[in-house]
Symmetry: C2
Subunit: 125 residues, 2 copies
DNA sequence: TACTGCTATATGATTTAATCATATAATAAG
DNA sequence: CTTATTATATGATTAAATCATATAGCAGTA
């Protein structure tokens, strides 16, 4: 039986938004603090709307725990103190591993979409 | 501090293996039962090794609950009874929504990999 | 001064998909 | 009669994603 609220699949599924590799790439491009990264992430296209700030801050701390990034407080400049993150050598290495995974993923997606298109065309003809 | 067992990122992260859209596409191509789908999924390229049978059977039941697929028992033919799944009209519709999401995802991945390559080249030169 | 909005970080609770570990059973092959 | 293969299934655990919320500095303005 279908439930009242349709909560199955692409809309609600805990989707992998590639937060970790995205953050690593952005931090390789340029050291930044969490708040900056929120807007940068949005432009990367893995999020439909806004990325969740809580998720981003948590992920950054988590990555620091593993020495993928490191941070220090920045008190200079206006506004509240910022925690500036930079990527580490280990982080760059780790990103490389991510990229290998994402290349496969990209290829698999391409194949998937191709198959879908083919099937779609067949059923339309 | 990094933990003893490095459990961060691309190796261990609960990755989205696109189980739901994969199953829907495969079932659109051809009705099948769970055990068949295990091998078909492997060929789709979203899994590094073997897909987890438990996950597949659960997902199929879950999708049936939402009328995306329907099943019936097949007792004819050798071997233990099989539950043969077919996609429904709702399922095909739902797959279409998935595809829209995956097209965006595909584009975002392409952009990501492009940016990585650029940065990688810069740092090598 | 008080209020509002923006910048900035953070954490606790909840949800749920993914994973891990098993259990069951029919049949085919040796 | 034992083992491997085919086939489905479920309970427990883990961890990521999400939701809700708290804190606080500073800028502009009414």
């Amino acid at each position: 039986m279908p439930r009242k609220n349709f909560i199955c699949g692409c809309y609600t599924e805990r989707r992998n938004r590639y937060l970790e590799p995205s953050l690593l790439l952005l931090l390789w491009q340029k050291p930044a603090h969490g708040y900056d990264l929120l807007t940068s992430l949005e432009k990367m296209g893995f999020h439909e709307s806004h990325p969740d700030p809580g998720a981003v801050y948590k992920k950054l701390r988590h990555m620091e725990e593993f020495n993928l990034v490191k941070s220090h407080w920045e008190t200079t400049g206006g506004g509240p103190a910022k925690r500036l993150y930079r990527i580490t050598k280990l982080g760059r290495n780790h990103l490389k591993n991510w990229v290998a995974v994402l290349q496969k993923r990209h290829a698999a997606l391409e194949n998937f979409l191709q198959q879908y298109t083919t099937l779609s065309d067949e059923n339309q003809a």
